[in-house]
Amino acid sequence: MTAYRSTYQRISRREMHSPRSVAAITLALMTSAACLWLMSEIVLHLLGRPGLLATPSEIAHTVAGAGAAPPALVGVIGVATGLIGALLLFLAVAPGRRSRHLLAIERAVTIVDSEVIASALARDAARAAGVAPDNARVTVTSRRVTVHITPTSGTPVDRTAALTAVQEHLHELGLRRVLQPKVTVAAVGRVGA
């Protein structure tokens, strides 16, 4: 790791955050489409032909008429547009952390999807708690691990054993960001599980 410290830092940073490519490409396509439409209207206007949707002067009059239009309609359009704008501003500024975790490995930057960690932990937790593998559900977020166990009706669940198993597994994994484990046992069991 030491030899390529800055390269590895760059790779980890970029792999842990979204590039926002989908949003950027979608916006670029929509802007191009709007541009193409305005350009076709201009060409039709120059040729003296009727517009596709509206001629340039009709567009100008629609914009000017916003004050005279029913306020409710203008208000609703304004709120909808404002919300879309706010969403875009959020996308531009928010970190966009991906649901992944870094392993502390020297040789290579090792990135694991939270889903993979969750299924590995679920297996261990189910075995320690003494329930079927399908009855332990694990959610992994950026700081927390929550194990949801559905007990088999009539059989008590060893919650401490499940927590210890998850803690041990997490310790063994050696994630760069330490996760806080939590085990919850459902109040209602399931028959024949």
Partner: protein
């Protein structure tokens, strides 16, 4: 890993977001505030009359083509075309960063070029025999003027990522020995769609 310009992506989204948000806010103000409505009508009227005056003052010279109007429209068309070209370049620029050159060893006697496929095939072959992994894909990227190996792994449900990482590190170290040097590497472990359909592996 790829060379997408993320700052540019976010800047573009920010600019479009600001424009869309301001339009929305302006429309809302027009709808709810009487004074704003008057100002809006007044300023739009001034703009429209100004633009109309410019368009009248700049007629196209007489020519055989059947077009009439102001040459400012042609300027607008050119600007629109330029914007579309810029946006197309922006879209095409996303992704990329692959390299086909793994390493170059140069000397007075000559140069040795090692193709990326040497690493890709060697590592992928070594990983394909492992039952714990469903699929693996190796590619080479250029990061900071340096070839970096990317090993993407799809593993079975329930397998410890530590175990997967140990297997891949073993293979990488073996390849280091083969190559006679160490290359930076990224290992990406994911579950993938196929993993969800595959039964839980029983390893004890």
């Amino acid at each position: 890993m790829n060379s997408t310009n993320r700052v540019l992506n976010r800047l573009f989204i920010l600019v479009v977001g600001l424009v869309v948000f301001s339009v929305g806010a302006a429309l809302l103000l027009v709808a709810i505030a009487g004074p704003v409505r008057d100002t809006w009508a007044h300023s739009v009227a001034i703009c429209v009359s100004g633009v109309t005056r410019w368009l009248r003052a700049t007629p196209l010279p007489n020519q055989p083509m059947p077009i009439s109007g102001s040459w400012l429209w042609l300027v607008a068309l050119a600007a629109g075309g330029a914007l579309i070209i810029l946006l197309a370049l922006f879209i095409i620029r996303q992704g990329h960063g692959h390299t086909r050159r793994l390493i170059t060893v140069g000397g007075d006697a000559g140069m040795v070029l090692v193709d990326s496929r040497v690493a890709e095939h060697a590592i992928q072959d070594a990983l394909s025999g492992r039952p714990e992994l469903i699929a693996s894909h190796v590619s080479t990227y250029q990061v900071k003027h340096q070839s970096v190996l990317k090993v993407a792994i799809t593993c079975r449900r329930g397998i410890s990522p530590r175990e997967v990482s140990r297997i891949v590190t073993e293979v990488l170290v073996a390849f280091d020995t083969l190559l006679g040097g160490q290359l930076p590497a990224l290992v990406k472990i994911s579950a993938g769609i196929r993993a969800r359909a595959t039964q839980t592996a029983r390893l004890h």
